[in-house]
């Protein structure tokens, strides 16, 4: 049997409903909320600020430090143990790597930009959701970046290339009876939309080379959609500042730099 209709009724290259908002955490220098289907991520950015422990400082440029954390109640089943684990440490590291290529911290030697990503609800694709929220929060914090980063998971389930898998699809043979091809692959991808460069690529499962290429092509257009949502959310926060005509030039003494 083939997989003809997705578990939640979407098209095969359709994303889950996305919601995004900026400036959700008042005390942070930048913050964002990003929701894909039932996965919800909050990101808070603090800094640039003095880095501790001091031996981790870099005298050449600022350091980006991301922390991924699933909240205890965020999973579908048992309590998730929060704090560093083998998994969350790895995801923190790949998130940092996905974002560090766009941020420009050359003006901030010895300083650190801390990004805290908290997942309050998870249903697969949490690292992608975290990266999307973190990119928005970094831009909101006024950090120089050459572009935003957008991420989405693509994959292979029931002999079909699928975009933005949810939990059921990641474990498809458990949910759909009598599949001919029981292979499932999950490929989180993060891209820099303006250049198409890939800053995160992981894979979990069994998959052919042709399918990976097909999946990556689908990821590209999905990422363009995610990126659009991110940009609109950022602009919305400052929507009132889009003024027809001119701003108040007379007082612009020393504005900007």
């Amino acid at each position: 049997m083939d997989y003809n209709k997705r578990v939640d009724g979407r098209d095969f290259d359709e994303l889950r409903p996305i919601e995004a908002k900026v400036g959700v955490i008042k005390k942070a220098d930048g913050s964002a909320f990003f929701k894909m289907g039932n996965t919800v991520a909050y990101a808070a950015v603090y800094g640039p600020r003095e880095m501790f422990p001091k031996f981790m400082q870099d005298p050449k440029r600022g350091v980006l430090r991301c922390n991924y954390n699933m909240m205890p109640f965020s999973g579908a089943g048992e309590r998730v143990r929060p704090g560093p684990s083998r998994r969350s440490k790895e995801i923190s590291a790949v998130t940092t790597n996905a974002l560090v290529s766009v941020v420009d911290l050359n003006d901030f030697p010895n300083a650190v930009v801390d990004v805290y990503i908290e997942l309050s609800q998870t249903d697969a694709g949490s690292r992608c959701c975290g990266i999307n929220a973190a990119a928005m929060a970094l831009a909101d914090a006024g950090i120089a970046m050459k572009d935003m980063v957008a991420a989405v998971a693509v994959g292979f389930a029931g002999n079909k290339i699928v975009v933005d898998l949810n939990y059921e699809e990641e474990h498809l043979p458990d949910y759909v009876e009598g599949l001919d091809n029981k292979d499932v692959a999950d490929i989180p991808v993060a891209m820099i939309p303006s250049t198409g460069e890939i800053s995160l690529l992981q894979m979990d499962g069994i998959v052919d080379k042709e399918i990976i290429i097909g999946a990556l092509n689908k990821a590209k257009s999905a990422i363009a959609q995610v990126s659009k949502v991110q940009r609109e959310a950022l602009k919305e926060k400052f929507a009132s500042q889009i003024v027809n005509g001119n701003g108040d030039d007379e007082n612009a003494a020393g504005a900007g730099n």
Partner: protein, 240 residues
Amino acid sequence: MSLLVKDKQVVVPGDVLADDLGFIPGFGTYRNNNNLMCSRLGIVNMEGKVIKVIPLSGRYLPRRNDVVIGRVFDILMMGWRININSPYSAVLSSKETQDFIEKNEDLSRYFDLDDHLVCKVTNVTSQNLVDVTVREQGLRKLRGGRIIHVNTHKVPRIIGKKGSMVSMIKQATNCRIIVGQNGLIWIDGEPEKENIAVEAIRKIEDESHIPGLTERMKTHLEGITGVKLVFDEGDYNGLQ
């Protein structure tokens, strides 16, 4: 030659501002092949062919000759370490005070922990080590009053052209006000008047992008205080 954004539009990192070589990249922008891209969240500002992005958020980075308000958070052998609301702390040397301080003297007699100072940045190194001084007229320890935090990028609007905006608030409320470039503002006066000043500053922060700010603030302040205000562009040295 084509420009893809309007002047004063909000842009986010990665937005394409123009797609040919006819424009010159200014602050907050960079060139990617033929495209002129945005690298900061901010507002587009066109000056002839130069496109720059004025940031809307971000921490304060100290620059020489900025008047800032800082808090003493550590006492060193030969001076004080001062938090200037920036990623980097500043050092005030004991030689940079108005009094002569003997060697081995107890520095907390001059400035103690948690004292607030108005000081001027004298030097910033490439590694962002910051030196400040209080050895100029008007620079001192702040006694009484209150301190509020504002967005550093709104400070130029709060000061106004040649200090016109602060001097207007001062006239209306009879408060003493010092605006630090780092986003800390010290206000001292009668408590109710202080409240009016704080409210006015918050209003400027919220509405700085809407045209006619000065006029609006004038009517706002005159309406509340009933003081007839004279618009004044004096010699502003960051203090007064």
